[in-house]
């Protein structure tokens, strides 16, 4: 079991007011799963993802990642977990605007302390995997939205994490580009990486093999998707 949470809670206090974003979430996710997280706006999906990715710490409850408890870690230890075990993909890409594609992909390796030659090699390989070999020296502003998101995915994968977290990765993309991104995720998942993906759209969620629905900070529904779509096939069909 890659992910195991027990009664995970996250509370925000806005002055005297308290907001319970997550109110006791217990879930287990195995290595190699492809999970879509759905739910209405404000139901706690992003909060849950941020907790899984160690970007945020829970108010209470337990979280084990790859068999190791994550609570009571120092900020530096959490940084190391984010660096080595988790890859993030965001809706807004979050690329460094002044760095080219290659440098953006190298960033996690820099913080991992990887030597320059090795860094370039690994970053290039990931960009090639994303079909962006000829875009290595482009700045984000010189790339399309889909290309930017693929740079971001290359960056998320460059440290060979066990878990890929994507918070509405297709939210800013058109339907065809979204399909391309989903095809990528499916391909990566087939290669063994665990994917957890937050989305609003049922069309996107149906590419996952398991769909978890959130409502008011709790899991309202959790079921396997017996017949997930094949994004790659859909792409080819629409091209034909």
């Amino acid at each position: 079991m890659l992910i195991r949470t027990r009664e995970l809670r996250k509370e925000y206090s806005l002055g005297a007011h308290r907001v319970q974003a997550i109110r006791g979430v217990s879930i287990g996710i195995d290595t190699g799963e492809f999970v879509a997280v759905m739910g209405p706006s404000g139901s706690g999906k992003s909060t849950f993802m941020n907790l899984l990715g160690c970007l945020d710490v829970p108010t209470s409850g337990d979280y084990e990642l790859a068999g190791e408890p994550v609570e009571h870690r120092t900020p530096d230890e959490l940084a190391a977990i984010r660096n080595r075990r988790v890859g993030f993909v965001f809706q807004g890409f979050n690329l460094l605007g002044r760095a080219n594609a290659l440098e953006n992909v190298e960033l996690p390796l820099i913080y991992a302390g990887v030597a320059a030659a090795d860094r370039h090699r690994r970053a290039r390989a990931r960009l090639a995997q994303m079909g962006l070999t000829d875009r290595e020296h482009h700045l984000p502003s010189q790339l399309s939205g889909g290309q930017q998101q693929r740079v971001a995915i290359a960056r998320a994968l460059v440290t060979d994490p066990v878990l890929l977290l994507a918070d509405e990765p297709t939210g800013a993309l058109d339907s065809r580009t979204s399909l391309e991104i989903m095809a990528l995720f499916q391909e990566l998942n087939r290669q063994g990486i665990t994917v957890v993906l937050v989305t609003h759209e049922r069309d996107i969620a149906q590419f996952a093999r398991r769909i978890v629905s959130f409502r008011d900070g709790l899991i309202a529904d959790d079921r396997a998707n017996a017949a997930p779509g094949d994004a790659h096939r859909l792409l080819e069909e629409s091209a034909a």
Binding site: N50, A79, R98, I110, Y111
Partner: protein, 409 residues
């Protein structure tokens, strides 16, 4: 994350906002430039005084004719010729720790060939060069024969030698001092400016007796009177004691009653110089302190811009943290950026400060001294300013929570 990479990130961030970085640096540039220039000016003034002290010797007393009345109104020193050659001789005889050199002075016109120069003539005794610590560049000084025979020989100061003879050797040439022919037997070393800014090399020395008999003649009211007696006190002998002894002896010889004012004027020149040195040292410190204030203001500018930068780049910080940057990585990144700002500004400031002190030396004619220590000091100070004023914004960045930073709009 290694330092070289951090440097590159910092330079790129600074280059992205060239105008802003430049303006921020301007504060440091002006601060460092001002510190360097002001220290150079102060050190120059100090070095000038130190040179004068060296030139003068630390043990020189000058006795001048004239008196200081009890009311405070001073008669022009040297105007009444109250001291004499005999005073000088008695001083030397009675106080073995002293060597004295009496001198008369006259403004004269000196002619050599068709060159013509108006200068000061000093009638002096053979002891004069030793007492003034003023060596000869060539030729000889005066001896007792010159004194007794009132020979018509002269020793030229550098300025006069240049004015009359240019680059040719003045030795054995004949000059006319107030139309009286003198043979040049020596040339003095360069002495430079006096304490009061006069050119000390604009001078002709002749034997005291010759000055009286051949040149000044009847103009001199009292035959044995002199304008000045230079006194050199033996090294290690207490200057205050020497001063007291000289004063007592002169008062006794001049038959002054207790309560009556001295009819001579006695000055320990090295004391004046030491006071000047002290004040020029204080001046240097003061100038440096004032200039440091602008460096401080520059530092506040850096802090201000770094705070803005941290706020602007909150999302970038969040992203870096999301992919694994630790607080320390972020801290170093912003600190290096601040220190880069201040060091680059510091180097430009050093160049400008060096140029500024050269310009002041050139155009204002002040002596300026660019010291290595001031450059090291300014560079160090700039770096410290960068670290000090960069630390708070950098720490602020490092303490951001990754998720809040990522969400920041």
């Amino acid at each position: 994350m290694n330092l070289w990479l951090t440097m590159r990130v910092a330079l790129r961030a600074l280059a992205a906002n060239r105008l802003r970085s430049g303006l921020t640096m301007l504060g440091i540039i002006i601060g460092v430039g001002a510190v360097i220039t002001m220290i150079a000016v102060g050190a120059g003034a100090q070095a000038r005084v130190e040179d004068q002290i060296k030139g003068l010797g630390s043990n020189l007393i000058i006795i001048m004719s004239g008196s200081v009345t009890s009311g405070g109104a001073r008669m022009g020193s040297g105007s009444s010729f109250t001291i004499s050659e005999d005073d000088a001789q008695v001083l030397m005889r009675e106080i073995p720790e002293l060597i004295s050199a009496p001198a008369v002075r006259g403004g004269v016109q000196v002619v050599a060939g068709n060159a013509n120069w108006s200068t000061a003539m000093f009638g002096v005794t053979p002891e004069y060069p030793e007492v003034r610590q003023w060596g000869l560049l060539s030729g000889r000084g005066f001896d007792t024969n010159d004194m007794t025979g009132a020979t018509k020989v002269a020793v030229l100061g550098q300025t006069v030698a240049k004015a009359l003879f240019g680059d040719t050797d003045p030795l054995d040439q004949v000059i006319r001092i107030r139309k009286v022919p003198f043979t040049v037997v020596g040339v003095l070393e360069r002495k430079g400016q006096s304490l009061f800014g006069q050119d000390q090399d604009d001078v002709v020395l002749v034997p005291l007796s010759s000055a009286r008999k051949r040149v000044l003649g009847g103009l001199q009211a009292k035959q044995r009177a002199v304008n000045t007696i230079w006194v050199k006190v033996r090294e290690g002998y207490d200057m205050k004691v020497a001063e007291g002894q000289i004063r007592d002896l002169l008062r006794q010889r001049h038959r002054l009653q207790p309560g009556q004012d001295d009819d001579f004027y006695l000055r320990n020149l090295s004391e004046v110089l030491q006071a000047q040195e002290a004040s020029s040292r204080i001046l240097t410190l003061l100038l440096a302190a004032v200039a440091s204030v602008s460096l401080l203001v520059g530092g506040i500018g850096i802090m201000n811009i770094m705070l803005v930068s941290v706020t602007e780049r909150t999302r970038e910080i969040g992203l870096r943290m999301a992919v694994g940057a630790r607080g320390n990585d972020i801290l170093t990144q912003f600190l290096v950026e601040a220190v880069t700002l201040s060091l680059v500004g510091g180097f430009v400031g050093i160049v400008l400060g060096a140029g500024g002190s050269l310009a002041i030396g050139h155009f204002a004619g002040w002596r300026t001294e660019l010291t290595t220590s001031s450059i090291v000091l300014a560079t160090g100070f700039a770096a410290v300013v960068g670290v000090f004023f960069g630390y708070y914004p950098a720490r602020k960045a490092a303490r951001l929570s990754p998720i809040e930073a990522l969400r920041y709009e």
